[in-house]
């Protein structure tokens, strides 16, 4: 049984369709990434999951039960099971860190001032901010604010945390520390995390599954390494591969070599030596996914058809996936 199952979800704002027949399924313990450019509908998708937006069509199931649909609004108790953190942290500026965490408990009528305080302190301790309990958001750094927000999310002992671009306002170093914290919560408590981001790096550093949204449509979905290694759609390719590639070489043909975690040998050097083909390297990138090294290298396609054939044979022989591409995915 899926932790969260989204079936045929559609949503429009006026004329503009922001989600069009989106279906996906998140298993318990997943760190599920939703990747897409801004305006792709990611935010609306995650907002539907905890009732900040109502779908026009479709249903969302939570642990096998109908959570919400166009007709059925989300129940308050279930909402508390699904916590959310935001890009702008959304803390009360007039309450200190402790007060912000206590707010979650107050709103859900947790009885006893002392009980709330102890619980809130424990949550702050978990995110490493017990010493800042009495500081106000204006006194905290961005990363600290997000930690308070995470502590607030933890206060109700959620089973799911939704993260709406939670690291997009942070610098790379702080981003990594927040991601590490989320990952540890996932491992320690088995909290399922649904993580929205337009940043590839965020998704690939902690997610085990990914869905790609483009213009209201879900275009790909699956295990992180499957999708990232073998993107099937053009938009997925451009999101995954074309990162940082700026090219005006579109008159050329390219070959993309894909590494699937087993490539220990110096492939390019071997090609040059053993096939006597001079390789012109255009782009290369490797990523560590689930502890294995994956990567891609884009080279210029040799002009000589004989060389091309030789190269293809060599690659096939050595189990290297490759494909011809006309551009680097940057349309």
């Amino acid at each position: 049984m899926a932790e969260i199952e989204i079936r045929h979800l559609s949503k429009s704002f006026g004329e503009k369709k922001v989600l069009d027949d989106v279906s996906l399924s998140v298993e318990k313990g997943d760190v599920f990434g939703v990747l897409g450019l801004s305006g792709a509908g990611k935010s609306t998708l995650v907002r539907c999951i905890n009732g900040l937006a109502r779908p026009d069509e479709g249903e969302i199931y939570y642990q096998g039960e109908l959570l919400c649909s166009a007709k059925k609004p989300i129940e308050k108790q279930k909402r508390a099971r699904i916590a959310m953190i935001f890009q702008q942290f959304n803390l009360l500026e007039q309450r200190d860190a402790l007060g912000n965490v206590e707010l979650a408990l107050e709103l859900n009528k947790v009885k006893g001032k002392k009980v709330r305080k102890e619980k809130a302190l424990a949550c702050l301790k978990r995110v490493g901010l017990e010493e800042q309990a009495h500081q106000y958001p204006s006194q905290l750094s961005g990363g600290q604010k997000q930690r308070v927000a995470i502590a607030r999310a933890l206060a109700l002992e959620p089973e799911v945390i939704l993260s709406d671009e939670a690291t997009s306002a942070l610098d790379p170093e702080t981003t990594q520390s927040i991601l590490a914290l989320l990952k540890s919560l996932n491992k320690e408590y088995g909290i399922t995390i649904v993580m929205i981001s337009h940043q590839l790096g965020v998704i690939e550093s902690i997610c085990n599954k990914v869905a790609i949204l483009d213009h209201a449509h879900l275009v790909e979905q699956g295990g992180l390494s499957d999708v990232f290694l073998n993107p099937k759609t053009e938009i997925a390719r451009s999101l995954i591969y074309a990162n940082n590639v700026h090219t005006e070489l579109n008159e050329h043909h390219f070959i993309r070599l894909l590494f699937d975690g087993n490539a220990d040998e110096p492939l390019i050097a071997n090609i040059v030596q053993q096939c006597s083909i001079l390789i012109s390297l255009v782009y290369a990138s490797t990523k560590v996914i689930d502890g294995k090294v994956y990567g891609q290298t884009v080279i210029k396609r040799p002009k000589d058809p004989a060389e091309r054939e030789k190269l293809a044979k060599y690659l096939t022989l050595h189990n290297v996936k490759f494909e011809e591409v006309k551009s680097l995915g940057m349309e």
Partner: protein, 223 residues
Amino acid sequence: MEWNEFFLALGQTVAMTLIAAVLAYLVGLPLGVLLYTTGKKGLHPNRVVNFIVGLLVNILRSIPCLLLIIILIPLNRGVFGRATGEWYTMIIPLFFASFAYVGRVVETSLNEVDQGVVEAARSMGASSMQIIVKVLLTEARPSLLLGVALSTISILGYTAFAYDFGAGGLIARAYSIYSSHPINYLSRPDIWVILALIVVVVQVIQEVGLLLSKKTDKRRIAK
């Protein structure tokens, strides 16, 4: 100069202003919450309710204070047994002249609250009432306190109309000095004492409002 009289008049002005301000907030605060809640960014946007309430507020605000006092004479008579002549007969007119204004001031303060925190509270399962009390009014507190000072000062300005109805107060007193000494009233010290007292009262209200707002605003705490 009759100091006793000055202080009596000062007391009357302050009393009618403060009592009217408290009453105006008793009604104006919920009114402002209603305007915000039913407004475009509100928790329960409702164009019809918002339009009707907004229209009533605007109509009330466009009636000149003096006209309002005249219209409210029967109400005053019903409540106090007399329409004019005592300081407290100003309370009801001042209240009517200001609560709609207070409603707008409160609405403006609430509109300044970041929508993100409202959303966060909602995602935690907060009811609308909880959002209003625990999020909106808390987050808007510094701005609301400034609004109180602003509204109180504007009510103080309306107390001038007390003159027309023999309801006392400092400003009315100034006019009576003029009418009894029309030629040389500006060379009399008492008119300047009144002016100074009014300035002091307004400044005190302004500064107290500002100070409370600053003192309680946690955004201002330095790192």
